[in-house]
Every structure is written in structure tokens, then in C-alpha cells.
């Protein structure tokens, strides 16, 4: 099969900035993302994994895991030292449902995704429920990226950048 349909390009720096923005925003808004219809409000927190790389190299150069790694000095130091986020594990709560997922790389692949427990019994219903939860997760992440995309291409972004830079430097 010839791969003559390569699709929409990946923009590695944009997805890395998206992950950083999620991290920064979650710390500054107590994790509350007001995403509007159809998603509504979502609470988001950084879970137990952050992985960094150099922009010019796809190999990971620093991985932080365990309890609350986003609060560690090493995590900010990695950013200040020129490393960029390649993987970020987040937890999210929408209504009473909790999702955990590692967003990975320029494609934002879903890795080690933990969906809400399925309570239905039988053969078909659990499958539909699980696929529904996956769709819900994709909807939330999509809404977060849309929110970021509008911010990143708008005038407000120029005000956000110095705030994140100060946060990275430990000044905010």
C-alpha cells in the first residue's frame, strides 16, 4: 500500500505547548476548565507521570513519576533547562466520572487510559458503555485542545506567555 494520504500535519511544538498549558492552567485555576457546550465543566489534575525531551530529539531525556511529580523542582527545572513536555498523565473528572490518560507525543496518543468502571452486566451493554466512555474522553480532550487552539492563535496568548515563563522560572 502506498502511503499517499499523509493527512493533516503534526505540529510537535503545538502539542508540547498544549501539555504545558494544561499543567500551568490546572495549577492556576484549581483545575477547573470551563469548556462550554457540549462538554461543560471539567476538573483536571496532573497525575503521576511527566516525560520530557529535547525539541530536536524524539528520545526522552527526563521522566518523572510517583506522587505529585508536577510539584517537584526537577519538573520546572527541566522546562527552564530547555526540555519540552512529550508525555503528560492527567486525571479528569466530569460530573461523577473520572478518567485517567497519558497524552503522548505530537499525535496526542492515548496511553494507559483508565475509563470509568462499567456497571452494566451482560454481553453487549458493557461494550457500549465502555465505547461511550472512550467517546466521552475523546470529546473532553478535543474540547481542551480546541480551547487551547483558540487561545494560542488569539491576541490573549501574548499575555499568557509571560505568565507561564514566570511560573517556569519559579516567580509565580
Amino acid at each position: 500500500m502506498s502511503d499517499d494520504t499523509s493527512g493533516t500535519p503534526l505540529v510537535p511544538h503545538i502539542t508540547s505547548e498544549f501539555l504545558l498549558w494544561l499543567w500551568w492552567y490546572s495549577e492556576h485555576r484549581e483545575g477547573l476548565f470551563r469548556l462550554g457546550d457540549p462538554v461543560g465543566d471539567v476538573t483536571l489534575w496532573i497525575d503521576d507521570r511527566l516525560a520530557f525531551r529535547r525539541p530536536s530529539d524524539s528520545r526522552l531525556t527526563a521522566v518523572m513519576t510517583g506522587d505529585n511529580p508536577s510539584a517537584s523542582l526537577e519538573a520546572r527545572a527541566a522546562l527552564a533547562g530547555g526540555k519540552v513536555l512529550h508525555e503528560l498523565r492527567i486525571g479528569m473528572k466530569r460530573d461523577e466520572r473520572e478518567f485517567f490518560v497519558t497524552l503522548k507525543g505530537p499525535s496526542l496518543h492515548f496511553q494507559a487510559t483508565k475509563l470509568p468502571p462499567v456497571v452494566e452486566k451482560g454481553e453487549e451493554e458493557p461494550i457500549h458503555s465502555r465505547l461511550y466512555f472512550y467517546d466521552e474522553l475523546a470529546l473532553i480532550v478535543g474540547a481542551l485542545f480546541q480551547y487551547f487552539g483558540a487561545l494560542r492563535t488569539g491576541d490573549e496568548w501574548a499575555d499568557v506567555v509571560p505568565l507561564i515563563q514566570a511560573w517556569v522560572a519559579g516567580e509565580a
Binding site: M1, T8, P12, H13, I14, L20, S107, T113, R152, Q165
Partner: protein, 209 residues
């Protein structure tokens, strides 16, 4: 991958093309045609692949839509069986058999043709009695929004699934990009043309991989 249970890891694709009106029947036939089949003859370096039901890698009852179609999702798995002999063990055993051949004939060298025959015989004997390694990759196709999840992030596995998907359904899988989420073409163009921000004094402004 865990599309049905456990942790889920998946690469996303978009389906390039539209569904034919008789897609349910066509895709059923495609899955049946490209289903996994146990090889009749065991051959050297054997690798066998094909679609199996997502519920059990031994089942290929795609004639029954209820076993793979959970509207709007079509669910199935790619099974790949591989047999690979341990090269060092083959080499050492072959040496022993060559020595035995020489001793039987009171000679010191084993001709290349004989050596080759002994090797083939050894491989055939071992392939026949060894179990394959079995890799199963789940595929979930949302036929309504034309997205496909493939339960692996390994490039080789993804390439294999894309190839068989095309062979089965006549549709190409295009790698999904986060920019596909965006509705506004102006936003997409702006992001494609944007430059990376510098977050610290040591941030690199060179090419990104």
C-alpha cells in the same frame, strides 16, 4: 490494547473515503475473506495473519454481525502468529548432526548440499512441533465519525494493520492529527505557521522532531 477491558492504549486514524450503502454486507465479506486461518502446511519462518473476533482470538464468525458490529463501532482484532527458531540452538544442533553424518561415513567433511538438507530437515522437524508466538491487536472503527483506534503504538504493528485494513475494506487509514479536532481553518493555518515559544533561558529555537 484493552478496547473491551483494562487500560487502553491506542493510535488514532481517520478513514479516507466514504461508506458504500451496502457496507454491512461488504465489510462482513471482507472480514470473512481476510480472516485468520490456520496454515495447512507448516513452512519455514512461518508468519500467518488475519482478522479474528475481538472476544476470542480463536473465533472468526464474522457472518454474524452481532459478533463484531456494535453500532456505530465495528470491533475486530488482527492476529499475527510467528514462529522463529532459536538460531544458536539450530546452529549447534546442526553441527552435531553434521558430525554424526561424518562419523557414519568415516569422513571428516560434510558437503554443503548435505548440510543444507540436514538443516532443512531439522527446521521442518522443529517448526512442526513448536507453538507460535501470537500477537493480537484490537481495532475499533467508528463508522459514523470515520475514526479508527488501533491498539498499539508500535510503528510496525500500525503499518501491518493499515495494510490489511486497506486490503479488506479498500479504505486507507490516515494518521490522525490533533489539528483534525479544530473546526476553524484559520486556526489550523495559524498553528501550522506558528513558531515555538521559549519557556526558559535555555529553550532551543531550532528544528523540532
Amino acid at each position: 490494547m484493552g478496547l473491551l477491558k483494562g487500560m487502553l492504549t491506542a493510535a488514532r486514524f481517520r478513514v479516507d473515503g466514504d461508506l458504500p450503502t451496502d457496507w454491512r454486507e461488504r465489510y462482513r465479506d471482507g472480514l470473512l475473506d481476510q480472516a485468520f486461518r490456520e496454515p495447512v502446511v507448516r513452512t519455514k519462518g512461518e508468519e500467518t495473519e488475519g482478522w479474528v473476533e475481538i472476544h476470542n482470538l480463536l473465533d472468526t464468525d464474522f457472518a454474524n454481525h452481532n459478533r463484531w458490529l456494535y453500532h456505530p463501532w465495528a470491533l475486530f482484532s488482527l492476529r499475527v502468529d510467528k514462529k522463529r527458531l532459536p538460531a544458536n540452538l539450530v546452529r549447534a544442533t546442526l553441527e552435531k548432526r553434521c558430525q554424526a553424518w561424518c562419523e557414519e561415513r568415516d569422513t571428516t567433511s560434510c558437503p554443503a548440499a548435505v548440510r543444507s538438507e540436514l538443516k532443512s530437515s531439522l527446521e521442518e522437524e522443529w517448526f512442526a512441533r513448536m507453538l507460535p508466538t501470537v500477537q493480537v491487536t484490537d481495532v475499533g472503527w467508528n463508522v459514523a465519525d470515520k475514526t479508527v483506534l488501533v491498539g498499539s503504538l508500535a510503528e510496525g504493528t500500525l503499518a501491518r494493520v493499515r495494510k490489511r485494513f486497506f486490503r479488506t475494506f479498500g479504505l486507507r487509514l490516515v494518521p490522525w492529527s490533533p489539528l483534525d479536532i479544530l473546526d476553524d481553518k484559520a486556526h489550523i493555518d495559524a498553528l501550522l505557521g506558528s513558531s515555538p515559544e521559549a519557556w526558559g533561558p535555555l529553550s532551543e529555537q531550532g528544528d523540532w522532531s
